[in-house]
């Protein structure tokens, strides 16, 4: 089996099957849908308070940085969707696009994990086959991208 990501002269080469592309295109859709419910565990997980004992400071921080974070995530998802449009035939990602792709995989895994009640590592054993497969596949892609980006940007 060939690897989905490879280092190339222009950045990171990506090639996925049509089935993989179809699955991944659902990730941003899932994130948008879950984000509509502020009480959903996934939304809660993606909106972590930084001040644990100071609600006023937290409110002020959230007022300034909340929309900023939302915009950054929307930009990542937009890059993710654009890349996927070309992924079945093969495309090359810049490092910035590859990092955005990696962050959306992370966001998707966090949202999925929170949705299925993955609170501690032992909870993996309780997951259904489909849930575990989805998390494992996203983890596989993310791990591959981490390997490539480490090689490209940190050595």
């Amino acid at each position: 089996m060939s690897r989905p990501f490879n280092v190339t002269r222009g950045g990171v080469a990506l090639k996925l099957t049509a089935e993989e592309v179809a699955f991944l295109k659902d990730v941003p859709v899932m994130l948008v849908n879950l984000g509509r419910d502020p009480d959903h565990p996934a939304t809660q997980r993606l909106s972590i308070p930084i001040y644990l004992n100071d609600p006023a400071a937290e409110q002020e921080y959230h007022r300034w940085m909340g929309p900023e974070l939302e915009q950054a995530r929307l930009a990542d998802r937009s890059a993710f969707a654009s890349v996927l449009d070309e992924a079945a035939t093969g495309t090359t990602l810049s490092v910035a696009e590859a990092e955005a792709f990696m962050r959306v995989l992370e966001e998707g895994r966090l949202a999925l994990g929170a949705s299925v009640g993955l609170d501690i590592e032992d909870d993996y054993a309780t997951l259904g086959e489909g849930e575990a497969a989805a998390l494992d596949y996203l983890a596989y892609l993310q791990g591959e991208l981490v390997r490539i980006l480490t090689k490209l940007t940190l050595r």
Binding site: I50, E106, E107, A139, Q142, G143, R147
Partner: protein
């Protein structure tokens, strides 16, 4: 009449007080979803830690539940938390 004012001298004790008042710690908490290699990558990328240092911090998060990954004035700590959240890590700050 000219009055000679005392010239303020910055002492080590004064610096300690200022630094203590300003120092905020950025804490990353354990999360069952995050991949170990991903956490190491993010800590290296955002804070410029060596591979060894980032691995040590990741293992502290994994084994002890949390680790202090950065510190500094309040504004810097807030920005660090923002960048960690953008990368999905569970980050808070404390004094």
């Amino acid at each position: 009449m000219v009055v000679a004012l005392p010239i303020p001298v910055r002492t080590e004790e004064f610096d300690d007080l200022v630094n203590h008042a300003e120092a905020w710690k950025v804490v990353v908490w354990n999360d069952p979803v995050n991949l170990m290699d991903y956490v190491v990558f993010v800590l290296r990328k955002l804070f410029g830690h060596s591979k060894e240092k980032a691995t040590q911090l990741m293992l502290a998060v994994h084994n002890e539940g949390r680790a202090i990954v950065a510190d500094g004035p309040r504004e810097k700590a807030e920005l660090d938390c923002y960048r960690l959240h953008h990368h999905g890590l569970w980050a808070t700050m404390e004094q």
